[in-house]
Subunit: 371 residues, 2 copies
């Protein structure tokens, strides 16, 4: 009789049952009894089928399915000391780039019999620490983090728990935590150099660096600054607008930038979301992209290619990062030797939101001088 059929079932007592399962779970012993074998044999059928006589194995198997027995993972974990469980803490799932990475991570883990605990920190290091504590108490066998900005406490906690860890979306190991991801700083440096080659000299940057823990965007901003300094065009503070990760802030950031520096010809954003906001605002205030203003993003979200004009951006291999993190941890748990960190390639995707400045004081360096 389906439990879910009637709100009030009147079989046993009407009092609430605050804990435990209702139907006593079928266990190995039940299967063993039905099959007239010992519990040990059932266990062997489950874990080492090859050492059980085929006919017996089949018989046991039949009873297993008959009773639809499933093993109790708690008991298993208690015995083996391993939970076959991985935890991930992302800043937020609202950013498609993290959602994509988590999805890939889960898919790969699932293939290997692992299950994924998820938590989010809202870019708050204290919350991240709490969530980690909870995950470690849960007995996770490995942990995936994002970025390299983590407190000493967090590292101590991980170390003490002896849990393999990897951090993602960045490429440099920090505090002994290996990383898998891209070189954010280099990517924006290249992007900036591309714009310099196009002839731009008046730049602006919109960076989501308000969260202390966002070292990805910080590195991206540094890449921009370094490229411009190297070109003798260092960014002044008013040319850098700090924002969070929302689209609306991309809009207001562009407005502010153009108020302070109306003659800006190129805006580099550390996130597609910000760039898309900036493009929306540019359209609204009648600034032509890319004729009057070039805009670049970072992440290459689905929408980037569909914008009008399509957004020039940096493609981040989020799915590959997720898969790589899964592989790393699975190997680490198995005790395999591991690379310290994995540097993944990004891709500069040149679309139509960028072009040469309308009137370049310092024309692009080409063979033929401009007519």
């Amino acid at each position: 009789m389906p439990l879910t059929e009637r709100p009030d079932r009147m079989d046993k007592k009407p009092t609430i049952e605050p804990k435990g399962r209702q139907q006593p779970r079928v266990k190995i012993e039940d299967v063993a009894r039905k099959a007239n074998v010992s519990p040990a044999t059932v266990s062997r059928v489950l874990n080492h089928p090859e050492i059980v006589r085929p006919e017996l194995r089949d018989k046991v198997m039949r009873h297993i399915t008959d009773l639809s027995y499933t093993r109790d993972s708690a008991a298993r974990a208690l015995k083996s000391g391993r939970m076959r469980t991985i935890g991930v803490i992302v800043p937020t799932l609202a950013l498609g780039i993290f959602a994509e990475g988590v999805e890939a991570l889960q898919n790969r883990l699932s293939e290997s019999g692992y299950t994924l605990f998820i938590a989010n920190s809202q870019y708050d290091q204290r919350r991240e620490l709490q969530e980690l504590q909870s995950l470690i108490e849960r007995g996770i066998d490995g942990i995936v983090l994002v970025g390299g900005s983590h407190g000493r406490e967090l590292r101590a906690l991980i170390e003490q728990a002896g849990v393999p860890v990897i951090t993602t979306y960045v490429s440099k190991a920090v505090g002994g935590i290996p990383a898998i991801g891209i070189d954010n700083e280099r990517a924006t440096r290249e992007m900036t150099e591309y714009l310099l080659r196009l002839g731009h000299v008046r730049f602006g940057a919109i960076a989501n660096v308000v969260a202390a823990s966002n070292d990805r965007s910080r590195a991206r901003l540094e890449g921009i600054q370094r490229a411009l300094s190297d070109a003798g065009l260092p960014l002044r503070p008013t040319q850098i607008i700090k924002a969070d990760y929302s689209l609306a802030q991309g809009r207001s950031a562009l407005r502010q930038l153009l108020t302070d520096h109306p003659d800006t010809t190129a805006v580099i954003c550390t996130t597609d979301t910000l760039a898309i906001g900036a493009m929306a605002e540019a359209r609204k205030i009648g600034v032509a992209v890319p004729a009057t203003l070039s805009i670049t993003g970072f992440d290459d979200v689905e929408l980037a290619a569909q914008m009008d004009p399509p957004l020039t951006t940096v493609s981040v291999p989020a799915a590959e990062i997720g898969r790589g993190a899964a592989d790393y941890l699975i190997n680490a748990i198995a005790g395999s030797p591991l690379p310290r960190s994995v540097l993944l390639p990004y891709r500069l995707v040149m679309r139509s939101s960028t072009g040469p400045p309308r009137s370049s004081e310092r024309p692009p360096r080409r063979r033929r001088s401009p007519g």
Copy 2:
């Protein structure tokens, strides 16, 4: 000595350790010995502090923190039969609406000491079943699903496991599974009626109904069809374009729709992503929105309000759905009496992607007749 410092530690044996934790975990017995009390007392300090003499309690507490003891959740779960763990299976995290719901779900669960297992089905019922199986083996105390299209097998599995379930983003219980969400059909019916009142008579629909399990979009499509039938303007098959959930398909769908029915004045999409794709395509082929063509979406994603023109859509309370699902399961686990289903309000958000048709054969019914 940090484990992570050197790849090769030479303290014990150089062979790999395929299983188990390295450092033997500190357990209740260790604390008990240090504190000169029985293991039972330590356990009581942990679980029922009020029944332990304060001074003794404090002493034990000190040793607990000193040894930084954490309880073994596997053993705990084995004893109590409860894991304090909830599972969720979404079609994909790539859709912001699901990511948002999962995030809210996790936040609420975390407040109550629960941890969230996440899995994704890719809109595939077989995969959903597999993931569910794995979650149930993990001993989850509750499960969150999306939508009402689930196979008999899945329902049987849940019932047999005796695990509380709730399905989300829909409002009607199916097969005994309670739901929390909105009335999708009613929402698009209202949206369609709104367009009818504006004077539209030539409609098109773009619906992501290729996945068999997507009953949300199916209901939304039915809402459109019903409203139009009621108005004596039933949709012909060629006026309905079926798509998946990608932005690119929104583009191609609009192209196809306008090829077959160039005189269409209103397009209703079952997803913002599709609507945004349709708007992008409209702009590209020079169709003015809303002057020539009205477009509506569904979900109210962040970008919807930022489009040019801002997108008329239906706002789905994803965060509220996530929180509500968490509350429902927490109560269900505690044995509290529960409502069968929860109907949440949606909100029609009228923005500027909709307007009256340019030349309405059948003018809007107003007091003053059109000039």
